[in-house]
């Protein structure tokens, strides 16, 4: 089992979801792959220190977005250009140039430290300590997700499962909690009966405490502790994933899912519930909150729509996928996915395909009458 978690850098909540997904994948699967820029971002502050000034300027320009700021950047660039043209600088000019360069560096570092803080808050930063682990791999993508170079993966190929390393692999896409967001629900509530290949089929298989509280060392320990008890579950999951990709009849797949995968998950759940570190994790929150992990199948076009809707993939990737869809390559196909469902305070999360709109909450107060 090798789940793939896409980077979602657009909000702290999305990053928390990404962090939890990576962590669950890390302790549960043979291998977890991060797709996107997360694994690069985790080391960005470290790598930035070693950049040449010219490269730092590119970063400097990229982080200043408003017109006002852009003007400041342009002025600074112009001043630096003049400085660099001077062949025999006076000591004062050298000092001035160094000061300007230092200013650029400091401003960039302030922003980068902000990125780091966000990643620390989301729990992603802890994954940095696991970056050397064979169990944590990456499909690296930068700004242009369709960049076709040796060290970069094309998002469209990954999402069509066209990469050579995916051949025969049991990779499945790990979707975040946003799947249940109000504005996306509408997209898939039309999908109803699970048996129909056109529809969504999702089952809650495992629950975890908020493992975002665990350190990298603790995650390593939990992975090791769950390794042997998890063999049967991973084996079943692999078989089921292969059945999905091999287009085994849907009834057969669902029967296998219910008769083999779910019982294996129940057994693994007992081990999860009894694990010391995970129990400690629960006690840290003091409220028995559980994150639910769903497994299931969703139509490929919905999977792509999900990444498009949440702006995980760019326009170029979307166009390629649209073309593939128009070519009929994914018609009638449903791929296996893992789905994270965030906990709700004090109550079990109910995953409803037909969730009602949330009522506008009113402020609570202690009644005095």
């Amino acid at each position: 089992m090798k789940p793939i978690v896409f980077s979602s850098a657009n909000s702290l909540i999305a990053q928390v979801s990404e962090s939890v997904s990576l962590r669950i994948g890390y302790i549960l699967a043979d291998e977890i792959a991060s797709a996107g820029g997360t694994m690069i971002d985790l080391f960005f502050s470290e790598n930035f220190q070693h950049l040449q000034f010219r490269q730092k300027m590119i970063v400097f320009e990229a982080i200043h977005k408003s017109e006002e700021e852009k003007q400041v950047v342009q002025d600074l660039k112009a001043a630096l250009k003049i400085q660099h043209k001077i062949k025999h600088k006076t000591p004062q000019q050298i000092v001035a140039q160094k000061k300007m360069e230092q200013t650029v560096h400091n401003i960039c570092m302030e922003t980068i430290n902000g990125f780091d803080e966000m990643m620390r808050l989301s729990g992603l930063m802890e994954m940095r300590k696991l970056a050397d682990e064979a169990a944590l791999t990456a499909f690296t993508m930068t700004g242009n997700q369709e960049e076709d170079t040796e060290n970069r993966t094309q998002a469209s190929k990954l999402l069509q499962r066209l990469l050579p390393e995916m051949e025969g692999g049991h990779d499945l896409f790990f979707l975040g909690a946003e799947f249940n967001a109000e504005d996306f629900k509408e997209t898939y509530t039309s999908y109803t009966a699970a048996q129909d290949i056109q529809n969504v089929f999702l089952e809650s298989c495992l629950t975890f405490p908020n493992i975002n509280l665990l350190s990298a060392l603790e995650l390593k320990a939990v992975r090791k502790q769950l390794d042997i008890p998890g063999i049967a579950f991973r084996k079943c999951a692999d078989t089921w994933v292969r059945m999905c990709y091999d287009d085994i009849p849907v009834e057969e797949r669902i029967t296998f899912f219910k008769n083999k995968l779910l019982p294996a998950a129940t057994l693994l759940q007992q081990t999860i519930n009894e694990n010391d570190l995970l129990m400690h994790c629960s006690s840290l929150q003091n409220d028995g909150i559980r994150i639910k992990l769903f497994f299931g199948e969703i139509p490929v076009e919905l999977l792509w729509e999900y990444y498009k809707h949440f702006k995980v993939i760019g326009d170029e990737t979307c166009s390629i996928l649209e073309a593939a869809k128009a070519g009929g390559s994914i018609a009638g196909k449903r791929w296996p996915v893992m789905l994270l469902m965030p906990p709700e305070q004090g109550s079990e999360t109910v995953f409803s395909l037909n969730g009602e709109d949330e009522k506008m909450p009113l402020k609570k107060s202690i009644a005095v009458d």
């Binding site: 909000s11 302030e110 430290n113 803080e117 808050l121 109000e182 060392l217 320990a221 006690s283 909450p361």
Partner: protein, 461 residues
Amino acid sequence: MKTTHYNYFTLQLLQAANCFQFTGLDAFYHFVQAHQLKDILVLTGGAGEISSFAVLHNNALFRTPTFGFNTLEDYHTSVQQHFPDAAVFYEAAAAGYKFFEDYQLVKEAGIADRDIFEKIKASGFKEGFKDYTALLQGGNPVLPEINEPSNAFELYTFATTNGFENYAGFKEALLKGFTNAQTYAIAKDQGFPSYADYKEALEKGLRGFKELEFARSKKVRDRQDFNRLIDLEFLECDTCTHDEKVLLVLLSKLEQGKRVSINKLKSLFIKMLEDYRYADTVEMPLWFKFSLPDETAITAFLLKNEQVKKYGHYDADGEFFEINRMQDRKVVIDGSNVAHNSNGNSASKPSVSNILSVIELLKSKGFTEIIVINDASLKHKLTDADKLPQLKEAAEYIEAPRENPADPFIIQYVKRHHCLLVSNDTFREWKVQDPWIAENIDFYRLAFMIKGEEVLMPDLK
């Protein structure tokens, strides 16, 4: 010591006039050494089997039984390495072991694989076993109870099964009470000096040694207790005791604009205090400091404390507490949320106008202390960023540091000041991380809706 090499001559003894027999190889060996003899005669029996070693010296033949050794060098090596006899010595040599101690370990522990033996040696467990035995004899109370290993192999097996790579690392952990390398690494990372401390923290639901030390110093019992203490300590009013802070929290949650009799207030206060009692012992936490033992103290506090005035005022004559109107409270606006006029709809375009509309409504309702907290990135997304100066004039404006989300700052602000919060965000993700948010944020949060020019806030009746 330099090893002496001898020349061997095999022969059959037929007759010897002056022949002396040593009682053992040891004496014979010393004799040979003492007289610096180099030529050793190997005497064979009738069937050609080696029966004795002998030397010729001063026209006499000195002999000794071989006791199974092929050469004197072998005998010497065997003695040096403490082999009990020739049979064991040659058996060990055939298996590749030079030292009796090693061979004994292999035999006793039943190690069939030579590689494992090499690993035991390389990882220091062979020597370490002696050290471990000495540690046990020393009666170190920290040493954890484990099935006492009877040899180095058992010790090695125990340690490596528990993730240790060498004896040094194992000993370091062991002396602190740990028997598992991963647990030790985790505990060390969190600053725990011993397993007992780590275990105590685990049992209490505390994280890191610093938290444990703090909990111990404050006599905090467990995580729930810890959170309650921290929440009360964090609350604005540095000079207040814990029960005074609980009373302030109560006042901040009461229905605005109402009058509460002192008796009712007292009963609500007692009820709220009761929540701090431990469920099992029904005792109050030891850290909890009191200064409001009776009604007199409560009324005195209500009359004199400055923080109380944020929530209302006490009428001593009427013996009631009049809770301020909502408008008299400080209010924080979740700038990004209001600017988007959404409930998590990231697709909507944010505008300052939305925030200004909410401020206008709040002001029209009589709110005076209005603070807007924004994400730093919001200004880049605004459709009407030119109105930012207007916003800064209309309310106190705070921007979270660049690339930092504003949510933690908003939450901290509300947590400390127990002020009102305008936001449609239910802070669901944060509720998971912080029980205080889960239990309290809805007491302070005002929902809103902006329809065209109109702002609806159902809480502002």
